[in-house]
Assembly symmetry: C2
Homo-oligomer: 504 residues x 2
């Protein structure tokens, strides 16, 4: 206990230690909770489970706001317990996804930079309890986050009460990693004084009113490891295409071998693309991203990285041992920020990021669906992809050209849900190749996308659709009554694939 208490450096707060069960008992039906946690990193682990336990004998609902997805099966357990009224701004849990799509709970899918603005403006909320994982509480009452910052700072500022979970499994060496900056209110704020990816502009902990801290619990549990899979032949091809494109940009004088600050979305494909730079000529790279995955640390090990700014660190099990076991090797290069800053349009536009995110599907004009399977069923949420794509120097979307053994084409005539419009998408990449859409009119985009990105199995079928559409004319020719035929065929016949000439 003595070791634990050393993590509470503010003397007046030492008396606030409670059990998770006691802390959870303060939460009432209808409350809104702001939880730390972003891409399974730095999530509150004990109080949520104690609250879920209460659902065995009580009936109640709470609204759950977070940074992004939670680890430790918290979202699974929340969903199974049926105690979530509204969840925002992102989740990535199969059980929760199923509840959302069944209409059993409400999910608000937000740009990850927007949630803080809505809380600050009191459009959503109020937050009754912020429940925040921490390494420690400093002498002056600052909360030192662990492996993510997410929305923790804005939750702490606007919550009526705060519960801190000090995680003894996270080393104190994490202190100093974070850079907490509050933009202030719209209409009253100054420019965000960040002009280089590694600028420090804030404090190393979250400043709170100590009187708002109602309880402190201790935990001792690492984050859930990421489930990204290693690069495969196709993701390597995609990485190669993307590297080819970047080399062409260099030859055309638009980039140097230092490239521009890189953002890469969560997931196996984006991870593979960054991993592809390990053996490249690119060097002295800056990363300005939401989440640092395994590949960023491979790049650091390869001596390729000047700095890496993030909002969370999400690693596979092996990588977690390696990185946090040797953190001195990495810490000088890493800065962890609130998601409002990691994803802020002001900064993304100023720095001119190269932004790489995963598409669920894209269409012949370059519109991208990141979220909804067949236009209806939520996968995870738009996350930060919109914050980045709209404002980046290069908005790149990657996806394998086919899925489910070829029954699904990831390139379709008309995306069944639009998250990123043709105005916001610069480059699309599949294992087949890439299409550079910049400066092209819609009719110029189509042949590039079909020939470079569509899987050969689907090319003739796509040409047939487009040829019929061209007969109708327009800026973006379409055959509206057939625009979703591939999707409805998938549902009715189990495949998007049709013998060309047989489309009805």
């Amino acid at each position: 206990m003595e070791t634990k208490m050393k993590r509470i450096k503010h003397p007046k707060l030492k008396s606030l230690v409670v059990t998770p069960e006691e802390a959870a008992s303060w939460i009432n039906d209808g409350m809104t909770l702001g939880l730390s946690g972003f891409t399974k990193a730095g999530d509150a682990k004990a109080v949520p489970f104690a609250l879920i336990k209460r659902a065995e004998t009580e009936t109640f609902k709470v609204n759950i706001y977070t940074g992004a997805s939670l680890g430790s099966d918290v979202d699974t357990a929340f969903a199974e317990a049926g105690i979530v009224g509204k969840r925002l701004p992102f989740q990535a849990d199969p059980v929760m996804r199923s509840k959302i799509n069944n209409g059993d709970m409400l999910f608000v899918d937000q740009h990850l930079s927007h949630t803080a603005e809505l809380i600050r403006a009191e459009v959503i909320g109020p937050i009754d309890f912020a429940i925040l994982e921490a390494v420690s509480i400093s002498e002056d009452g600052f909360i030192i986050p662990t492996t993510s910052v997410g929305n923790s700072a804005i939750f702490a500022e606007h919550a009526k009460h705060i519960i801190v979970e000090i995680n003894m499994a996270q080393p104190e060496i994490l202190e100093g990693l974070h850079d907490i900056y509050d933009t202030g209110k719209q209409g009253e704020r100054q420019p965000i004084p960040l002009t280089k990816p590694d600028d420090r502009i804030g404090t190393t902990g979250i400043k709170v009113d100590p009187a708002k801290i109602k309880g402190i619990v201790f935990t001792n549990q690492l984050d859930s490891p990421s489930t990204i899979v290693a690069p495969d032949a196709e993701t390597k091809q995609m990485a190669d295409h993307l590297l080819d494109f970047l080399r062409l940009e260099i030859r055309q004088g638009r980039l140097t071998e230092k490239l521009a600050p890189l953002q890469s979305g969560i997931g196996s494909v984006a991870n593979a693309v960054l991993h592809g730079m390990v053996d490249s000529e690119f060097t002295d790279l800056d990363i300005y991203s939401e989440v640092l995955q395994d590949s960023v640390f491979d790049l650091i090990d390869a001596g390729k990285v000047r700095s890496a700014s993030c909002c969370s660190i999400t690693l596979s099990e092996d990588k977690m041992d390696q990185v946090f076991g040797n953190f001195e090797k990495y810490r000088d290069k890493i800065i962890m920020r609130p998601q409002e800053i990691s994803n802020h349009p002001e900064i993304i536009r100023r720095l001119g990021l190269i932004s790489i995110n995963t598409a669920l599907e894209f269409d012949i004009y370059g519109n991208v669906n990141s979220t909804h399977v067949s236009g209806t069923n939520m996968m995870n949420g738009i996350g930060g992809s919109g914050d980045f794509a709209r404002n980046a120097r290069l908005a790149i979307f990657v996806t394998k050209s086919i899925a489910k053994g070829g029954k699904i084409s990831s390139v379709v005539p008309f995306v069944s849900h639009v998250d990123h419009t043709e105005h916001d998408v610069d480059i699309v990449v599949t294992e087949q190749g890439y299409a550079d859409l910049r400066g092209l009119a819609p009719r110029e985009r189509v042949p590039l996308i079909i020939e470079n990105c569509v899987h050969p199995t689907y090319r003739a079928q796509m040409w047939e659709y487009y040829t019929e559409a061209l007969g109708r004319g327009g800026q973006t020719p379409h055959v509206l009554e057939k625009a979703f035929l591939w999707h409805t065929n998938l549902k009715q016949q189990g495949t998007m694939l049709q013998e060309v000439g047989q489309l009805v």
Copy 2:
């Protein structure tokens, strides 16, 4: 001639005066021209027509980049002459629209803040000739724009050659109105030092290398007047609904009677909404918009306006006389900026604008189509609506609930083209009422939109679609095979209206 020559204050440039015909003779097949002009204001008038005249005896094509739409029938004449290869980033001309939709010319529909970045990064271009309307050229060679800034500064900076059209019909009193600021390159730039809507951060003219000025022509012709129609009963209802909403925001403590800086899109509806504030309690208003239409000057006359920042001034014929005939009354309140700054996400987010733009149609989840009739035929372009909606404090879209005497419902099950996704749309308004979508999950949005915004004629039909969709489940329930049925019915049967129960 002597009066004219006084407008060329830089002594070495006086020898560059040529006829429009001579200037136009310098332009060759395949060149790219950057023209001043934004929403029919401040457009180059003489050289374009001299160039078009050449098409009577010559065959050639040029690419035309502008700020936004051109007046003086220049786009009409360009389109009729068939000499435009590619046009960007916006147009609003019926003849050109028809050529675009027929595939006779290419049109790239861009966010209006993005074009300057693409030119600066040499992704589009190079610009062979910038052709810029001016009031005068200053002693130190600065070009003083007239009634718009648009993309003129970035054209001037990156063009190989510049042709200046000094318009004697525009008074020299316009000098001092403009505030030209260059952001510099991505990755090297500083924060844009604008924290209040009326901050001046730049120069009053466009700095150019005098050696790049190849010719100066004189013109004497006012801008084309705007064609906005006066508020009618329905636009007044929409304005009233919007004012009710703003009053509720005040009662809830989110706004004061000074509101927040206002942006209002081009067109009759947005003009009517602003006009609705003339007799309101709102006061001491700041405008931070693209274009100032008649209503802003009515608001100034009513003593309601503290400052008005814009990128162009586009007025009806009567209003033009009144405003420019009494410009001393208005000039201290007005600042005119490059469209990159009037529409910059950094500024829009910082200031927290209230943004009001017109939708062509929106759907039951709040996705907005601003551009494509039935998903295919371009109207004008997205303009600045995306720059504003994504980053505003309040992203408001307005449209009449029906069109063509009720044959078209402007609220549909699934928009046939997406310019603004559900993530970017806060409030939708029709003459029926408004729906405040903030913080709501998709399934919460639907009843509000149907009951508050859909025309009564279409409500049962919409409920029928949504009820069937709900049976399919999902985050955004849809019946994909019927998603565009209203649009295809319009095409095939001349109306979206169906007897409920008869949908197949």
